[in-house]
Symmetry: D2
Subunit: 147 residues, 4 copies
């Protein structure tokens, strides 16, 4: 997938409290970066981000899987480019695909995927509504719709 | 104040993600340690700790001030002793006093205070009930009651 | 794999600053729990944990991949059981397999894997020494040795 | 002190992993915000921020005290204005003064101070050099020089 195919790109500056004793961003912290990217993707797609949570506009969506590959370390004060797209949508779930590069060098830092599931008030998976799906597909042209 | 006058003492092991590039615990993280100590103080005083929050048994209590003095650094894998007492209770507020030492060397790591205020549903300060105050004073003998 | 086949089991209590606005442990924080388990696995296997880092006894080991499946949420003050084993060892890398359950209910919270690679001072992958491999296989009987 | 007297002002957006179960920024996290402000103050004052740490250009500076007063809560996705100045410089130490307001409402969120000390390689306090002091006083007009 080409960089231009990621509808959301943001910049993140690495902060003191995000690096460990090796001076590099701690492996868990990248999932925080990914979550920032997912929120900004939502905002760019035109959704209101409410104080109650990213999906507090009606959907109840939970993360059921994350995977991440670390390619090279990021250091304090580095500026990182974070790219976010949705790879696929199924009946009740969808999958973010994201990667991070060093802004200055272009070097790949990490890439990963995260699967989110829409649930009902009992915590069971529940079909995404058609409006949500068509809005997303309209915003993010390369989403694969899996029946 | 003597160590024996702190009703709660717990041990904390320093973890990888709590240290910064100097290999020492980041200055903000000690406030997390202090909060762990405040929860365990509550537990030892006989209060039920509910999933909704430390004070979800009726009180609505918020932190209005923290202060902390850093005496010497703590490193990854150090075991720390954290001592917690309540210094004073006023009409609607009370103040924790806490300190941390290195378990092995006894060296002082940091000490601090935190003021919490009881609020009503509008967010205004509200008098602590007498039952709560007398329970605390019974548990923590050196609390100073300030009228 | 049976619970008894995980050489290391530790308990973790969920803390206030680890839960998000839904009152559940934030998805990134489980990678911190996993790292705690990996350190304690090392300790139980007889390795000295040095202030400079988990693998500061000669090896330089970096995390190259994490994956995690979230099964059910954990809440503030829950006690969690974290089980850690090594699934396989290759020439220069090895893979942790870990899962977390709620201690009281036995309910599955999450499970995941993490791949670590031994590197040389230039950052290139470098074969694990035979002593390290044989010590691990002796400690953790179900490790699969992949040539 | 007037807002215009703070030489550095930055904006911070509150992220999902920074709020607790009440949906408000956790009390310890504000010290991270303060540290971001101190780094950006340094950058604006013309200092190079090196990967090894904020003061890795020669000075070895450690935080010896933080204090913070919480005025009103900040929520997920709020944009905050963080103002940073240096209040005073002594022989070997100096003190940041900082406050945070909600950008949209102007409401005060918190304010605090942090004292940093210059140390030598043995960890003892060591006089700040005159060049550093005069540069700072030139940049931040309201600094009080305490002999």
């Amino acid at each position: 997938m080409n960089k231009k195919d990621y509808p959301n790109k943001i910049q993140i500056r690495v902060r003191t409290f995000e690096v460990d004793s090796l001076g590099i961003v701690h492996n868990s912290y990248y999932l925080n970066y990914f979550e920032i990217g997912r929120v900004e993707y939502r905002r760019e797609a035109g959704y209101k981000i409410l104080p109650g949570g990213v999906f507090s506009d009606g959907l109840i969506v939970v993360v059921v899987r994350n995977e991440i590959n670390y390619r090279s370390p990021a250091h304090f004060d580095d500026i990182l480019n974070l790219y976010t797209r949705i790879e696929w949508i199924k009946n009740s779930s969808f999958c973010f695909e994201q990667f991070i590069e060093n802004q200055e060098t272009g070097k790949s830092i990490c890439d990963g995927k995260g699967v989110l599931v829409n649930i009902d008030s009992n915590g069971n998976s529940f079909p995404l509504n058609e409006k949500f799906k068509s809005e997303l597909i309209n915003f993010d042209k390369n989403i694969k719709l899996i029946k």
